[in-house]
Amino acid sequence: MKFINNSANIKKYINENRLSNDIDTNISIIKEVFSKNDNLICREFSGGRGGNIRCCAFFFDGMVNGQSIHFHIIKPIQQMDSLPKNASLFEHIKNEVISIGEMSEQADISEMARGVMIGDTLLLINGCSKALVLNSKGYLLRPVMEPTSEYILSGPREGFNENVMANLSLIRRKVANEKLKFESINLGEVTKTAAFICYIEGIVNEEVLKRLKEKLSSFDYDSILDTNYLKEHLKKNRFSPFETTGSTERPDVVAAKILEGRVAVIVDGTPVVLTVPHLFLEPFQSNEDYYTNYYYGSLSRIIRVICFMISISLPALFLSLATFNQELLPQTMLQAFAASRQNVTFPTVIEIIALLFIFNALREGGMRMPSGSGQAFSIVGALVLGQAAIDARIVGPITVVVIAFTGISDIMLYKLTSSSTVVRTFLIILSLLLGFYGFVMGLTAVLLHLYSLDSLGVPYMSNVVVFSKQGIKDTIIRAPLWDMITRPFFLSKNRIRKGKK
């Protein structure tokens, strides 16, 4: 009977989201909140003369720094003297006994639980209806290392990891300025993931910042496990294959972008940081362009743009010219093509679709397979599916060359792979239906679509349609830094970035 009454009592406190004054009841409450969590440690101990001060620490095994709990929480309490006269036990322990840097008082059970879940220690003190949430985080984290998806030959090697605070520190180290702001926001109804909006006051595009805050406050998904959750939320044209938010794992890239007037969103639990606004030419620009000679940087950008064009259009262009408008091909090429297609089993369109499928399958497999299988995979991919397919007259050699070239171009711009795949397929379908006219129609439609997009109010093609001398200096080319005097006009009103001294 007593047990039933006690259980009802605990539920009452949980529903009211508060603690009682009795430590035994409070321990039961926390245990009930974390029921079925077997890695929760409940450490009861006492301090003061005669052990008359009872305390209990809750923390999750594996998420805390044990040394910190032992030396800065448990031991000082165990060794404390009796309570001075007229002193509050809770305030005395908080201010004079515990030697942990970051702590907070909590009367709210859900906030206590949240603290415990992110690696803090919850300290219950007998006779107090409040508890202390003490920073004792000590879970294992990936060290700061170079992001595998953004390798560069020269320049900073550090990359973000999954800890938001560590990520903030990486950015602050790059931009040591008091105008660098990190505004906190919790996202996800269930996960309550910590996120930060990062920008430089005075440089940031205020309109973009305002729109971003509005958009983030309306984020109502239950969780956010990666920044891509936000990407889709921030997209205005939700069916567009083009990304209107940028992402990077490199602090130097984020620093460079916010220095131009952009805003970054850093989310806990993922090394990928979002930047907005994100415009059309950005995926073609690499941080390495600024760390190498500007001639080489410009050439690299031009090559990337050409590769993107090839990646989206080459199979469709080839299909339209090879099956509809042969008269547009140079004579020798047409003869070579006609020769290579003698007795080939499948029509050109099936060849293209099949080879693209195989290429994507190989790429997908290559990305996710164990590293030991790589050699066998390459042999199967290159020899069996390439040369053998040609010899068996399943596909023509020119089609293989076209798809291989498309594949290489596509791999070069991995950030655009999703959009280029959609556009490529769209163009192939149109070319199949209408030939070269379909291809041109498709390209026009893609171009019109690109011009209709915007990234948080900034037209997506702003950095393409630039006619001013300064504006063009950081677009498809990378001008010397000594000649880049202004920030892009569409990003910041504070335009001058060089020559203020």
């Binding site: 090879a322 042969q326 290579s340 003698q342 029509p347 199949l432 030939g435």
Partner: protein, 380 residues
């Protein structure tokens, strides 16, 4: 969503209305490389020989071999249709290299041929036109000349005309331009076919066939074609040989023409209209058999003067022969009068004859030093 539906609707309608119309695999086409067109006045029918390329071998190592098929019909289209049926594949004419027009067909007029070419679904404006001195079909019935497919061999010869200027290649669009442009007649390269006793066939492209409107009027020999090319501003190469310079009777000087430009101006002197052609070629000495040094002053000036005189005579002779003997305005005399002296053109009236206009030629050659390094010839 609405936009998405519109895009889907467009794709769907394209699929069902277009339905991959005109989709043709290249291996289902028969690549035409050359066409020979003859005309029989007696039978009043056209005979067309189509030379196509057929491919055999493995996918990576394919050989092209020629297949020539003849078709006959009252119209060219009918004749081609008959040939197509014999081949069994759709003929792909757009990338054909050459069209050889037989002498009779050329005399009958080239308008029907051009009309048929332009009505083709994929007309090729870059195809070369030639006139055969005899039957054109005989030429393309020869599979290969010097181990090269005949039509490709002829095209290669036309492409390398830079080294001779003894014939002036004409593509379809150039012929159409001349025909549409009143005041000038068409001039096509002439091709000759010979078969020796050992059944070894040879062909040569030499000289031109001059037309009056669309009908063959006369043949112009290679030398005259070369000299007319100066007035037509189509000289790109060629060799001049000057035997005897002034007192140095034994001298033999060979000059390689590098380029040439021409200016034409219609004038009236003593009430008589004439056109003055100012030709400015530049040449290099390629051989000099003489005890004197014609690269140095004053011998060089003397050589220049004599070469000018020689060229003036030869060009004038060739021009007068074509204009007065053959009575064809391949130089575009009427056009020059209209373009350079409109008052004179108006005064002469629309019906004036180009034969009423006299011509004078002035040559001012620029002789450079010795030339050992020459431009690459085509095919190198």
């Amino acid at each position: 969503m609405k936009r998405c539906m519109i895009v889907l609707a467009i794709l769907f309608l394209s699929a069902i209305l277009g339905g991959c119309y005109d989709y043709k695999e290249v291996n289902h086409l028969s690549m035409v490389s050359g066409i020979a067109i003859d005309y029989s006045e007696i039978l009043n029918e056209y005979s067309v020989v189509i030379q196509t390329l057929h491919f055999s071998g493995s996918a990576t190592n394919t050989d092209a071999s020629p297949l020539s098929v003849e078709g006959k019909g009252t119209t060219i289209y009918q004749a081609v249709d008959e040939a197509e049926k014999k081949i069994g594949k759709t003929l792909f004419i757009s990338q054909a290299n050459v069209i050889i027009i037989g002498e009779n067909a050329a005399k009958n007029g080239i308008f029907p041929i051009i009309d048929w070419l332009l009505r083709n679904e994929d007309p090729s404006y870059y195809i070369y036109l030639l006139v055969a001195s005899d039957e054109a079909g005989k030429i393309l019935m020869q599979d290969k000349i010097s181990d090269t497919i005949t039509s490709l061999y002829i095209e290669q010869a036309l492409l390398s005309f830079d080294s001779s200027s003894f014939y002036l290649p004409q593509r379809l669009f150039e012929v159409i331009n001349v025909l549409e442009d009143k005041g000038q007649e068409v001039m096509l390269p002439a091709i000759f076919f010979e078969e020796s006793e050992e059944k070894k066939a040879t062909i040569s492209i030499s000289g031109s066939a001059a037309f009056k409107k669309d009908k063959l009027a006369a043949y112009i020999n290679a030398n005259d074609t070369f000299h007319l090319a100066f007035l037509l501003n189509k000289i790109s190469a060629g060799t001049l040989v000057k035997k005897g310079v002034g007192e140095d009777k034994d001298a033999v000087i060979s000059l390689n023409i590098l380029s040439s430009s021409v200016k034409a101006q219609a004038k009236v002197i003593n009430g008589k209209p004439f056109i003055e052609f100012s030709v400015s070629p530049s040449a290099m000495i390629t051989q000099m058999n003489s005890s004197l040094d014609y690269e140095r002053f004053p011998e060089k000036e003397l050589l220049k003067k004599e070469v000018n005189k020689m060229l003036e005579e030869k060009i004038s002779q060739a021009a007068k022969k074509v204009l007065n003997a053959y009575k064809t305005d391949v130089l575009g005399i009427s056009k020059i009068v209209f373009k350079t002296n409109e008052p004179l053109f108006k005064k002469l009236g629309n019906d004036f004859s180009f034969m009423d206009i006299d011509i004078s030629v002035k040559v001012n050659i620029d002789i450079r030093e010795s030339a050992n390094i020459k431009e690459k010839t085509a095919g190198e």
